[in-house]
Symmetry: C2
Subunit: 246 residues, 2 copies
Amino acid sequence: MQFTSEQRLDDGIIEREFTLGEIPGTLWTPAAAGSADSAAPTPLILMSHNGGLHRREPRLIARARQSAACGYAVAAIDAPGHGDRPRSAADDQARAELRRAMTAGEPVDEIFESFIGPLVEKTVPEWQTTLDALLTLPGITGPVGYGGWTAVGIRLAAVDPRITAAGFFAGGYVPRAQREEARQVTIPLLFLLQWDDEGNPRQRALDLFDAFGSREKTLHANLGGHTGTPWFEVEDGNRFFDRHLK
Amino acid sequence: MQFTSEQRLDDGIIEREFTLGEIPGTLWTPAAAGSADSAAPTPLILMSHNGGLHRREPRLIARARQSAACGYAVAAIDAPGHGDRPRSAADDQARAELRRAMTAGEPVDEIFESFIGPLVEKTVPEWQTTLDALLTLPGITGPVGYGGWTAVGIRLAAVDPRITAAGFFAGGYVPRAQREEARQVTIPLLFLLQWDDEGNPRQRALDLFDAFGSREKTLHANLGGHTGTPWFEVEDGNRFFDRHLK
């Protein structure tokens, strides 16, 4: 893990850009984390995004900084085809077709299987490699939580026992493999649902929530479309992590 | 409104028993509320319960005290047939039949219409009379929120513009009249659902959440039966009221 830049933000949070092989990422840490005079452990949140977004999208940065202000180290990486990563013409075409079909209300399962399915397969090992590296840094002790992209989170929570709690965002559509793996997820969950999410059918999201094997799982649903999640859910998410990571 | 007892609890909260005509109630207020040296307004939460329970049920008292510790005046009354109120043999029989039918998984709509429907009709005016009296007390200024029994809350929020925000508890079953009135409710809502609530069918609760006219409404669902709501939902409820009443 090579750090390529470091700055102290006005709220005292340290923001560092890194690369790990071909994976670009950002790490936000509370001011005290890893300093010689701090013996306090710093739990870690892996903040994962999909949709071809850049990890430096303003609302993703705002979420990361809010969690860092609550005492968490927060890491974001750009998955293949996202942000700073090369993006193929085939990727662009698949995303465009996915958006078109969703907007038209057509079935998207097959596009999901052929495009998102393999992306999950590639992204999960990258998160595990990133986690290996993050946990060697001074002051970043874990425990480790996961927040964001549902399909990747399901696989990661199913295969990596270091993940202690997870917040999943509005994932009605996940590939078939993750629908099956949901019952293998047994850690505490906070599942966020946007009630009118144009891209994630409500009933499928409710069915997915029902399928998780966790004994402690909470669903939060709010009115509005995919990007309309109210800000107080970010605060609720941090309190969820407070209950399980601190 | 006649106060019949007053005590200061060890957390500084003042707990007063009252009667208002034939209505028995309890009022919890933060230590500072209404004192000569406090100019701060004290918002009010009407904490409503059903199920024939007594307002002094330990988990109801714990909820009230938690809200009072957050700066709210909290009032509870025993509705007709509840707690300190006279209860007829017919009431007892109707409740027993309702429980039996729910446990047996039989349809309970007709018992609901004939028993709960009229109880809602009687209880709502009692809450309004109680609210009139509470708002004349020194230091209790409002704004006013409502928490608890769903059917009574729907009617109250539909007819009384003093109610500014409401938290509804696990009400899949409400009488037909309240299913219709739900679209007239337009205040911010927090709707609590127990995912495995033996007495409130999940799909009906989801349909009710969908029906409310409010533009700002949030659903929280947790695993477990009717009385299994985790304690952190009490804290979430107070933060919901903080956003709308303070």
